[in-house]
Amino acid sequence: MPVEAINQSANSSAKTTEAASCVASLCADGVSLAFGGQQVLKNIDLEVRSGQIAHLRGGNGSGKTTLLNILSGFLKPDSGQIKLVIDNQPIDVLSHAPATLARLGLARLWQDTRLFASMTVLENVLAASPRPLGISPVMSLLAYSRVQKQEREFKHQAMTLLDMLGMADRAESTGERLSGGQAKRVAIARMLQTGAEILLLDEPLAGLDKESAVRLVEDLNLLADDTRKAMLIVEHNHDAISPVCDISYTLENGFLRYEEHEGQ
């Protein structure tokens, strides 16, 4: 497909200096899906790589969230392939459960945050810790001190993330008492706690005031540059997000259009 070719050239021109360090990517090839007799996605090709921020645009109901659901393994397409590469290891997305994919390094942010309502902010983030020993009841009982030690490390990491997103002082409050923007930032911290290399974000800026939106975009950009995360962002607030995007895709009538960004 030409898209891939363009993509690769985009990557080599924009990120030549670090091209060798590109170890993670998510690549969809010919993905199609029909819903109730209507062709929602038609032969979609898409790729995001380490250090890249890709913007996914499209009108309401154009199938953006559906595409994210497919990419994260929650929904099976009618046809097509999706390949995830983590640490240069290829993984077939369609043959793995979402939870497995998340542990491998593909995390997502939900449009409506989906925080765990009965848990505190800190517990929400801690729940996403990667491969905790103590998730096994046997380990919790028999290797109590090792589990506790690991817990302290996770807690430190969670507090660092909450601090970065300006939510450290709300660590002990429960999810119900947060404003929309605060909930969003907790959800982002939770997603980052997984340590995933590839992030799919569904409207991260929705519900945020202008100031926090700007700050969040800066943070995301920093994440992409410093930690080499790959991001695919669905966002209506084009003005805020497009300055930091390397590439953008537009979903229209089921087709995906690729566009390279200038200035990055």
Binding site: F35, G36, N69, F74, L75
Partner: protein
């Protein structure tokens, strides 16, 4: 042949209970376990009425009306308040379980725990093409079947029936159209109660009754609904008939002890292989499901 017919007749009863259960479940999403209490209660109303020398027909009418009222009481005291609070299904279910316990224990306190019968002495039997049928055995299913048919006619013809079907598919739309959801829900609970009461009276006349017969019957009704599919109202009836035939076969070839086990194995098979039931439309898999 005899077994097949017996199973078929039994099945109509399960099916009718399944329809009653589905009527509530489909339209209000309430998992109406207390229906078992209403089922258990109905024959006692008739029993008491007959003790006061009320004519049989009047007694039956009275029993049906009271069953309807009890069922509406469940809606008024439990499900409607919970619905207004937007309680999750678990709360409805636990409330319904509580109401079931209350009904059954009240029966036991008022009328006692022992098995009672309605009919005096023996019964006429008919022989039809080599199949022996007892009058009461035929009477109950026929009554139940006609009640179900009446309900179907009412559902498709009358205006209210159409509204009910809309309530099942889109309650908010019904409210927006200015229809009274509350009255509709009362009808749903009332008719559901009346329908199981018809079945209960028929069964009571045939084999007798005690306070604890209800839960098992309603469980069978639920199984009938799941086998037949809960998205249509005909499904549970067919599901019930299949269930009745299966159970009679198990009794014949195996033992009556394993009826229930066979029933729930069948349920498990359906849930895994065809969760939407025989006649169910396959629903769009919502990701939040």
């Amino acid at each position: 042949m005899q077994i097949l017919i017996n199973g078929f007749l039994q099945g109509i009863l399960f099916g009718a209970v399944g329809v009653a259960f589905a009527l509530v479940y489909r339209t209000t999403k309430v998992f109406y376990i207390a229906l078992g209490g209403v089922y258990a209660l109905a024959p006692y109303f008739l029993l008491s009425a007959l003790e006061f020398d009320v004519p049989l027909v009047v007694g039956i009418m009275l029993a049906l009306a009271l069953s309807m009222l009890i069922s509406i009481l469940a809606e008024e005291t439990i499900h409607w308040p919970f619905e207004r609070k937007r309680s999750p299904t678990e709360v409805h279910l636990i409330g319904s379980l509580g109401f079931y316990l209350v009904l059954v224990q009240v029966i036991a306190l008022v009328w006692g725990n022992e098995i009672k019968v309605l009919k005096p002495g023996g019964d006429t039997t008919w022989e039809l093409f080599g199949v022996i049928l007892v009058k009461a055995q035929l009477f109950g299913p026929l009554l139940a079947l006609s009640a179900v048919l009446l309900l179907f006619i009412w559902l498709t013809r009358a205006n209210r029936g159409l509204e009910l079907r809309a309530l099942a598919d889109n309650p908010i739309l019904v409210a927006l159209l200015g229809r009274n959801i509350r009255a509709l829900r009362r009808w749903v609970f009332g008719l559901s109660g009346a329908l199981v009461a018809v079945v209960a009276l028929g069964q009571a006349w045939d084999v007798g009754f005690d306070p604890h017969v209800g839960l098992n019957t309603v469980l069978l009704g639920m199984v009938a609904m799941i086998i037949g599919g809960s998205t249509t109202f005909v499904g549970p009836l067919i599901g019930g008939i299949l269930l009745g035939i299966l159970r009679s076969q198990v009794v014949w070839y195996g033992s009556a002890r394993w009826e229930d086990a066979a029933t729930f194995v069948l349920l498990a098979l359906f849930l895994f292989l065809r969760p939407q039931g025989i006649f169910g439309r396959k629903q769009r898999l919502e990701e939040a499901g």
